[in-house]
């Protein structure tokens, strides 16, 4: 938006007046606020008038059939995809649509990808070290020295994700489930306010799933967590609030019971499984 255009918009704070670096402000509302977001790829509407709010400390599950726009939604929040229209706010101060990926990450939005992507040539410890909240510019990174409190923080996260015994092993040798946990651990190292978790239990054993459910529920309260998942059993075990996406928009929202009794939802999604 050009400066001149902004001056005619009387309902918004001008960009140049807004404080540049400021903490996330959630005193007056949700931590994530998406309104009337639209994205289309070559005419295909991937996101269609999406409205979504996530409260601070909430654990929210997002479900929906393939192509419902779950991953695109995460791409928008993390700055990978720019929507055609709509607004996306982090707290009441940060307009995510004006920021790039590293800035959004630094601001406190962590993302876990569908496929576990950890740095396989580095050890578990080093993976967490890189993820640690720190000055990530070139020279500070070159001259960075591990401080005792950093080490403690990493050990704490290692304890949480249950990989303490594997701290000096290369991440490449971890099992699928362990990689998923390591990646969640990497997110925690960034001390994010909002965690976006894409299909955390895909390909996990029953036991691993339970462990993951414990891990995610223990995070809620301290962080806001958004989980995108296909596995209904898993969603049922962790979810308090569930949002159902369909064809790029919100179809239903509520507790798991409410949602699973919604006739619309049954028709488009749950019906296939039942």
């Amino acid at each position: 938006m050009s400066m001149l255009e902004q001056l005619t918009n009387r309902d918004q704070v001008f960009d140049f007046l807004a404080p540049a670096a400021s903490p996330v402000d959630v005193r007056h509302g949700p931590i994530l606020y998406m309104e009337d977001v639209n994205v289309s790829f070559d005419g295909f509407k991937a996101i269609n008038n999406l409205n979504l709010t996530i409260d601070d400390g909430e654990l929210r599950c997002i479900i929906g059939p393939n192509g419902a726009g779950k991953t695109t939604m995460m791409d928008i929040i993390t700055g990978k995809t720019r929507p055609d229209t709509g607004s996306v706010w982090f707290g009441s101060r940060h307009n995510l649509l004006t920021m790039n990926e590293p800035d959004i990450a630094t601001l406190g939005i962590g993302r876990k990808f569908q496929k576990p992507t950890v740095f396989e040539a580095l050890t578990v410890f080093e993976n967490l070290e890189l993820a640690m909240a720190a000055d990530k510019r070139i020279l500070p990174t070159l001259t960075a020295i591990m401080k005792p409190e950093n080490r403690d923080q990493i050990d704490e996260v290692l304890e949480m994700i249950g990989l303490k015994d594997l701290r000096d092993k290369l991440a490449g040798i971890l099992s699928h489930g362990q990689k998923q946990w390591l990646e969640i651990g990497m997110l925690l190292m960034q001390k994010p306010r909002l965690l976006l978790v894409d299909e955390p239990v895909a390909g996990m054993t029953e036991q691993e799933m339970e462990r993951t459910a414990e891990l995610l529920t223990s995070l809620a309260g301290k962080q806001s967590v958004v989980v995108v998942e296909h596995d209904m059993g898993f969603v049922r075990s962790i979810a308090r609030q569930v949002t159902v996406l369909h064809q790029g928009g919100v179809l239903a929202e509520g507790t798991m019971d409410e949602v699973s009794n919604d006739p619309e939802v049954i028709k488009v999604y749950l019906g296939e499984e039942a």
Binding site: E101, A105, K136, R137, I138, T141, A144
Partner: protein, 378 residues
């Protein structure tokens, strides 16, 4: 401020770096001793010719270390590092040309011979300043660094990586080769720069100067190695490996991948420039053939043979291949390219981690393996 140099001192406390520096120092000392102390007719005498040849190998080794830094640790396969090497070489060559003074064939106190021959009446603007050593030596670092910065800035900002980047680097060095072949460029055309007399006041044609250059190259290799090792053992080195293996993931962690790539690429180009600058006074000529794409590819073969992402492997590869080249091209010149190709195939099939991989296996010490485990099986 104490913390700002820790990254550079860290490698000195490492066993592997101490071993590398120890072997290098010992080799320099032995060659120097055998050259100076042994009578010329002794079988153990190292001739000035051999000293210069070894100095040339050490220049190649430094170039290989520079390539390994970007290829092994950052995953950027540069097939154009010869360009930075040659630019460093040309900067040195221009200094050496200006040192000739009026001793050239045409006796012009300012203009190098080839300019007199081309009937130029004054020095082109970019030749000014090269009569001063400090300026020329600064250019040895700055010219390759600036080219790498501009090239890297444009390429990495547009997120060009992988094969595409390799092809562009080839194009870069090829374009520079064609440009430097032109007489109008003012770099001596296809003859390049030659007929050097002295460097810093020392006569280049004496054995003592040659020995000095050899030792200087050894020291440059040691310093270059420590700088690279310092980078790869720092947190920035681990971030480079992260960029290499999962670029998008690194970006979501909050690192500016393109800046990491740019930084390491520029450092590497500067090291290549230093290698080129030390190469020129030892071989006595610099011409556009150093820009040849084939040369840059050969450098990559040295690194692959020696073992990627180890740094010392690059040194071993460069020394071995160039020694083999000297021997082979002497015995049967036509067979060299076949031998190089064959060697490359054999190493790729039987030693995917190169000679360094073999050494690591031998030692059986479970040293941490920085190479990408996914690629080991590929």
């Amino acid at each position: 401020m104490a913390t700002s140099t820790t990254w550079l001192l860290r490698p000195l406390q490492e066993r592997s770096t101490q071993l590398f520096l120890g072997i290098l120092t010992a080799a320099l000392a032995v060659v120097t001793l055998l050259h100076l102390a042994m009578p010329e007719d002794s079988a153990l005498h190292v001739s000035a010719y051999t000293v210069t040849l070894l100095g040339k190998y050490l220049c190649y080794a430094l170039l290989a270390v520079a390539v390994d830094l970007v290829w092994g640790y950052l995953g950027i396969l540069s097939l154009g590092h010869g360009a930075f090497f040659a630019l460093g070489g040309y900067a040195m060559g221009m200094y050496l040309m200006r040192q000739i003074g009026d001793r050239g064939t045409y006796g012009d106190p300012i203009l190098p011979d080839f300019m007199v021959f081309l009937n130029w009446d004054s020095l082109p603007w970019y030749w000014h300043g090269f009569d001063m050593a400090w300026f020329a030596f600064a250019m040895v670092l700055l010219v390759p660094g600036a080219l790498a910065f501009v090239f890297g800035y444009l390429a990495f900002r547009s997120r060009v990586t992988g094969v595409y980047l390799s092809i562009i680097t080839q194009a870069l060095t090829f374009a520079l080769m064609l440009a430097f072949f032109r007489n109008e460029m003012g770099f001596g055309g296809n003859n390049g720069l030659t007929d050097f007399r002295d460097i810093l006041g020392f006569n280049l044609r004496t054995d003592a100067t040659r020995l000095g250059l050899f030792i200087a190259t050894g020291v440059a290799l040691a310093i270059g190695y420590v700088i690279c090792r310092g980078i790869v053992t720092s947190k920035l080195g681990r971030v480079s490996v992260a960029c290499r293996d999962a670029e998008a993931r690194t970006r979501f962690l909050g690192y500016r991948v393109e800046r990491v790539q740019l930084f390491v690429f520029v450092v590497s180009a500067m090291l290549a420039g230093v290698a080129g600058a030390l190469y020129v006074p030892q071989v006595g000529i610099i011409n556009p053939s150093e820009f040849s794409p084939l040369f840059s590819i050969e450098v990559v073969v040295w690194v692959a043979l020696g073992g990627r992402a180890t740094l010392y492997g690059a040194v071993i590869g460069a020394l071995l291949v160039n020694y083999a080249k000297t021997v082979f091209t002497g015995v049967m010149p036509d067979a060299w390219l076949f031998a190089l190709g064959g060697l490359f195939v054999l190493v790729t099939v039987f030693l995917p981690k190169g000679i360094a991989g073999l050494l690591q296996k031998r030692r059986k010490a479970p040293e941490k393996d920085r190479s990408n485990p996914r690629e080991a099986t590929a």
